[in-house]
């Protein structure tokens, strides 16, 4: 499988990349990790006229926690998996990074690419929905911060303008008594999710849920936020009953379609099961467990 020909540029400054993108009339694609884009190009299902390679732009790969957690868009998945801050304070993100594709792919795949590609089967979107993250984008008109709820528009479609580039992911600082987990079911290692569920909880002093975030992978045209499931938890103790109610709600909110990863009813049920498991782990983590 051989990609169609294209023009290639590797700008060394972000402004330059944005400028090139803006001048390309929608016929250019930015290249980050390339682990989704290049296979599409090899099948000639994507034939961009121009590739703008972001990998020569310094300063786009980092994990920093100052006030909030900031992850540079070019941060590789492997670096998320291995980051001490992520592992200790945001284990839900480590959970997520560790199940994306396979370990070799994760050496190149980037968090920004995973989000901007907006594949409903990608894993970060659900987690970022659960965490109430925001996406920082830069374009010719400057920088804008897009709430994650406003970011995913449709399959492969985001609210980014054609001349905007994702530069950073921002995640609210991990509060005390908060915890989250991402649980994915796949047909085999390296596969896209049959279903993935991200759950994040903030508990109050009494152990009741004050904020709940639940994101679902690959059961809709985009990653979905299971709002009714979240609502089923808020103000309540995250006990078996509340978790079961939330899991049922998430299953009802999911919009799976039948495909090689199973029939609709199965997927819906797996949403329920994985929501239960993710919430249990989130509760344990919020209460100080691993």
């Amino acid at each position: 499988m051989i990609p169609a020909a294209f023009e290639y540029e590797a700008p060394t400054e972000l402004a330059q990349a944005i400028d090139r993108l803006a001048r390309s009339g929608g016929e250019a694609k930015v290249l980050a990790g390339g682990q989704s884009l290049i296979p599409l190009m090899k099948f000639r299902l994507a034939q961009p006229a121009r590739i703008i390679d972001l990998n020569r732009i310094p300063g786009l790969a980092y994990v920093r926690e100052n006030g909030e957690l900031r992850i540079g868009a070019l941060t590789r998945e492997v670096d998320l998996e291995e980051s001490a801050v992520i592992r200790d304070r945001y284990p839900i993100i480590a959970d997520t990074a560790a199940v994306i594709a396979d370990p070799i792919v994760r050496n190149l795949a980037t968090v920004g690419g995973n989000v901007a590609h907006a594949d409903p089967a990608n894993d970060h979107p659900a987690t970022l929905l659960a965490l109430r993250a925001s996406v920082v984008a830069r374009g010719p008109r400057g920088e804008r911060v897009i709430a994650i709820d406003d970011f995913f528009v449709d399959t492969f479609t985001t609210s980014l303008a054609v001349d905007e580039i994702v530069t950073e992911i921002r995640i609210p600082r991990a509060a005390a008594q908060s915890g989250g987990a991402y649980v994915k079911l796949e047909r085999k290692v390296g596969d896209f999710a049959i279903v993935g569920v991200a759950a994040h909880l903030l508990l109050d002093g009494k152990g009741n849920v004050t904020t709940a975030g639940i994101g679902l992978t690959n059961v809709g045209p985009t990653a979905l936020r299971a709002r009714r499931a979240e609502a089923a938890l808020v103000g309540r103790a995250p006990d078996d009953r509340a978790i079961a109610a939330a899991a049922d709600a998430a299953a009802a909110e999911a919009q799976p379609v039948a495909d090689l990863r199973g029939p609709v009813e199965y997927k819906r049920d797996v949403v329920r099961v994985l929501t239960t498991r993710a919430l249990r782990r989130a509760v344990a983590r919020a209460k100080g467990g691993k």
Partner: protein, 167 residues
């Protein structure tokens, strides 16, 4: 486009189309045919090489992206006629049959052991889960990596007293 890169320690240059995949640069331009191609979908890992020390699938990377960077392939593992511990492990433990997945599998193993000299069986299995083998059932590949890990640890242990003495 003109690219310059270091391959197995030696500087190489080539004029390439932007769409040329790194694996084709390695195989067809540089004639290092130990790196193989087994799929179209970044699934099999037969094409794994090290890019600045990290294993990547060279079928999912453009040659132009490698400009100025260091690539290591299976041909660079043996140094001065001495096999790398991973190469030795694969043959001692019968970790290969048809040999087609072997170079990619070994490059992944080399990178694993450089980061973690004492991986558990689970860590080994996770590390090679992006490399498919159709012949061996992986059991002996796991043993081969364990063999190499032991050998590398022993070599390091032998070296360290000397280094300490110098210090």
């Amino acid at each position: 486009m003109h690219v310059q890169l270091t391959v197995n320690g030696a500087s190489k240059e080539a004029d390439v189309e932007p769409r040329l995949l790194l694996v084709h640069l390695i195989r067809e331009n540089l004639l290092l045919t130990g790196t193989h191609i087994g799929c179209d979908t970044t699934s099999c890992g037969a094409c794994v090489v090290l890019l600045d020390g990290r294993p990547v699938k060279s079928c999912t990377f453009f040659a132009v992206q490698a400009n100025g960077r260091a690539v290591s392939t299976v041909e660079g593992l043996e140094q001065n006629g001495v096999l790398h511990a991973v190469q030795e492990g694969f043959t001692k433990e019968h970790g290969l049959q048809c040999g087609f997945c072997t170079p990619g599998m070994m490059m992944t193993s080399v990178a694993l052991l450089e980061r973690n000299a004492s991986p558990t069986e689970l860590q080994i299995r996770q590390a090679i889960s992006g490399n498919l083998c159709r012949c061996t059932g992986y059991v002996n590949i796991v043993k081969a990596i364990q063999y190499a890990g032991t050998k590398l640890r022993e070599a390091k242990a032998e070296k360290q007293p000397v280094a300490a003495g110098r210090a």
